[in-house]
């Protein structure tokens, strides 16, 4: 079974802090994704990566950056957290290029005070 893990289930940070969310997958997948999930808005793609050191903006990249130094690890960075970044963050991975099944981690619920 594919396993996608996220570093924290719950996180509380203060406005202006730098926040790192880590995601690791164990199945040698090419593609990794970061989404945020808000009630009524579904999942919105922040960034994705289709290879090591390669990244592409999703639909809502503002205020976020990402890092993929190793194939199995994809980090989401909030350079200066703001209250409107309070949300559930989901990481996913998929094997192949082209639309393919994505495997999701359990999510990190981030609260910015």
């Amino acid at each position: 079974d594919v396993k996608v893990t996220q570093s924290s289930r719950y996180l509380v940070k203060r406005t202006g802090e730098k926040v790192f969310l880590e995601c690791v997958q164990d199945m040698d997948h090419e593609n990794m994704f970061w989404y945020r999930q808000d009630p009524g808005l579904g999942l919105r793609l922040i960034y994705f990566s289709y290879d090591v050191k390669m990244k592409e903006k999703g639909d809502i990249p503002e205020g976020y950056s990402v890092s993929r130094e190793k194939k199995e690890r994809f980090s989401l960075i909030l350079e200066s957290a703001s209250t409107n970044q309070t949300s559930m963050y989901l990481c996913a991975s998929s094997l192949r290029a082209g639309p393919d099944t994505q495997y999701f981690g359990p999510g990190t619920r981030l609260t910015v005070l």
Partner: protein
């Protein structure tokens, strides 16, 4: 613009009754289509997917979905709902690109199951 729409935000169904969740898509061509389920406190789990071929797709947990090109729809169905089916359901679509594998998700439908 490419989009996936789930018209129903909430659906309440009695245990043992049938369930149908609606999904409409807007793409220039037939996209790849997926249904995911998210149980409380969990990540998303794939129920089924449609790439091509038979328009009636069988998935896990007794779910099926039917692709209808004429209606731009990919509705999810289950003949008899169990209490454990209470969850949020997401429809998603994507097109083949040279690189990357983006999916667009609908807003989700939360299903409540009455005893």
């Amino acid at each position: 613009a490419q989009s996936v729409t789930q018209p129903d935000i909430h659906i309440t169904v009695s245990e043992g009754a049938s369930l149908e969740l609606r999904c409409n898509y807007s793409y220039g061509a037939t996209p790849y289509l997926f249904w995911y389920v998210q149980s409380p406190g969990q990540g998303l789990q794939l129920l089924l997917k449609y790439f091509s071929g038979d328009t009636l797709v069988q998935g896990i947990k007794g779910f099926e979905a039917e692709f209808k090109r004429s209606q731009s729809s990919f509705n999810l169905r289950k003949p008899s709902v169990h209490w454990s089916d209470a969850a949020e359901y997401f429809c998603a679509g994507g097109m083949i690109k040279a690189a990357g594998n983006k999916l667009t998700f609908g807003g989700g439908t939360r299903v409540l199951v009455k005893p």
